[in-house]
């Protein structure tokens, strides 16, 4: 009798421990897995509405913080150049790129793109140094040596398989950005497209660092750069159209996309 009673007591004890453990683990696990789940289960409709209002308020604050306004004093001129670039793309660049793409197989075009990327190594290297990103400078150098030799002058990209050999790309505009220089104002460059005052200065800097710029006579250098652009365009036909197609005001859509894209590149 006594033993039996003790057994029951012990049994209960075990059950209690188990139950507590289940409860603790379930509670911790679930609250980790689904935040606020418990709060919302016990919520009345009114509290949920309040919670939503609070969330919206937070979102508005975040929105205000996240927006980097880049001034656009040249908007009217920019819009004219934007329209010209649009015309140039559809009437000239796209047909040429498409014709070129028609006679050149895609793998060849990808190799050409690899080659031009590889040869632009000095731009990335110098800017890594200017941004005190020595590790990246080293990675970039390894990549350049690897692709120039194993990848046969950079036409192939064996480095692609190794994530540590692919540091984010740096350019002079980004270097100026990390030095704390602001965008200035928005500029649409003829043919080259969206830019800002800072990035236009950066672009000039990149040209200095770009080996292709030093080819003599200058028209061969220009021809090489043009070819690079045509080759690149042939691999991305449809991207410009997609963004333009989805926008209500394409000018603003491209402006904002450019600013966001550069912001992220500078952060990296």
């Amino acid at each position: 009798m006594y033993n039996y009673g003790r057994g029951v007591l012990q049994g209960n004890h075990t059950a209690l421990i188990s139950f507590t453990l289940v409860f603790i683990f379930f509670f911790v696990g679930c609250s980790a897995n689904c935040p606020k789940a418990f709060a919302q289960e016990t919520d009345t409709g009114e509290e949920t509405a309040l919670q939503d209002e609070y969330d919206e308020w937070i979102d508005d604050l975040e929105e205000e913080e996240s927006v980097t306004q880049v001034r656009d004093p040249l908007e009217r001129l920019n819009r004219v150049i934007f329209a010209f670039n649009d015309f140039f793309y559809f009437k000239f660049l796209k047909p040429v790129a498409r014709g070129y793409g028609f006679i050149t197989p895609e793998p060849v075009r990808v190799r050409v793109k690899n080659f031009f990327y590889n040869i632009g190594f000095p731009v990335r290297f110098v800017n890594d140094i200017f941004q005190i990103k020595f590790k990246r400078a080293g990675q970039g150098t390894c990549r350049f040596v690897f692709n120039s030799t194993v990848g046969i002058l950079g036409f192939f990209n064996p480095a692609q398989k190794y994530p540590w050999l692919n540091p984010p790309q740096e350019d002079t505009g980004q270097t100026l950005g990390t030095w704390g220089i602001g965008n200035g104002f928005y500029i649409v460059l003829p043919i080259l497209g969206p830019s800002t005052l800072r990035d236009s200065v950066g672009f000039a800097g990149d040209c200095f660092l770009q080996p292709v710029s030093y080819i003599k006579p200058f028209y061969i250098s220009l021809g090489a750069r043009s070819y690079e652009i045509v080759n690149k365009t042939s691999l991305s036909i449809g991207e410009y159209e997609d963004l333009k197609e989805s926008a209500l005001d394409p000018y603003i859509a491209f402006k904002d996309a450019y600013i966001q894209y550069r912001e992220k590149a500078i952060q990296e």
């Binding site: 188990s18 289940v22 379930f26 919302q40 197609e245 209500l248 904002d256």
Partner: protein
């Protein structure tokens, strides 16, 4: 005593899997499930014929509606400007913007078939928001696409998508803000109505060229539809 031990161990055994998962994992699972469903539909050979294009679209729509919370996106995309909208205008805006997004997104993904999606890490941005990184790998490049999801009313839902670092919500917000600087909400709605109706046509053209391609027996189907 041994019995007790067994019970406790069993308890732990069942409890640990729940314990191991974190909120960020929940977000990753949610995005992975939805995107995998989209990929399955896109790769389903039965869906690739012209006659089933509309069926495929309908299937995709159902999955995408779970992935994205269109009401949340509509609200965010207007930001503070939504205060100048009447509730009726807000409803119409939400409806039109949903249709615009669906068209753009579905038109775009219906072209794809052989792309690979690699899932990256998920990071919590705040106590109920997370960002899930994915990479879409095509023949010539990698496109980073990150999904922002929020945990609300007991489930994860997408509220923004970042393509190569560009936020879709922020991009539309900058356009709407610009339009609303000079024009009324009604003008914006009118512009949206026109946009949504004009978007109808490319779909039909895509359907036509896809049909043409099949009759020529093309493995090059993708190229033709991309034109």
């Amino acid at each position: 005593m041994r019995q007790q031990l067994v019970i406790i161990l069993l308890t732990l055994f069942f409890a640990i899997p729940v314990w191991a998962s974190t909120p960020a994992d929940g977000a990753l699972d949610f995005v992975r499930t939805s995107v995998d469903k989209v990929l399955t539909i896109l790769r389903d050979p039965a869906c690739k014929e012209e006659s089933t294009e509309e069926v495929q679209r309908q299937k995709l729509r159902t999955v995408v509606e779970v992935l994205f919370d269109y009401n949340e996106i509509s609200r965010r995309v207007l930001g503070r400007q939504r205060k100048s909208f009447t509730p009726e205008q807000m409803d119409e805006f939400s409806d039109l913007f949903t249709r615009l997004l669906e068209k753009i997104y579905l038109n775009k993904i219906q072209k794809y078939s052989d792309e690979k999606v690699i899932y990256g890490k998920a990071t919590m941005l705040s106590e109920n928001k997370a960002e899930v990184e994915t990479n879409v790998i095509t023949a010539s490049k990698q496109i980073p696409i990150n999904y922002r999801v929020v945990y609300k009313h007991g489930e994860w839902r997408g509220y923004d998508v970042f393509i190569e670092g560009v936020s879709l919500v922020r991009n539309y917000r900058s356009q709407f803000n610009k339009i609303l600087q000079k024009k009324s909400p009604e003008d914006l709605l009118q512009q949206l109505r026109e946009k949504v109706n004009e978007e109808e046509t490319p779909t039909k053209q895509a359907a036509l060229s896809k049909g043409k391609c099949i009759t020529t027996g093309g493995g090059s189907c993708r190229e033709t539809t991309q034109l």
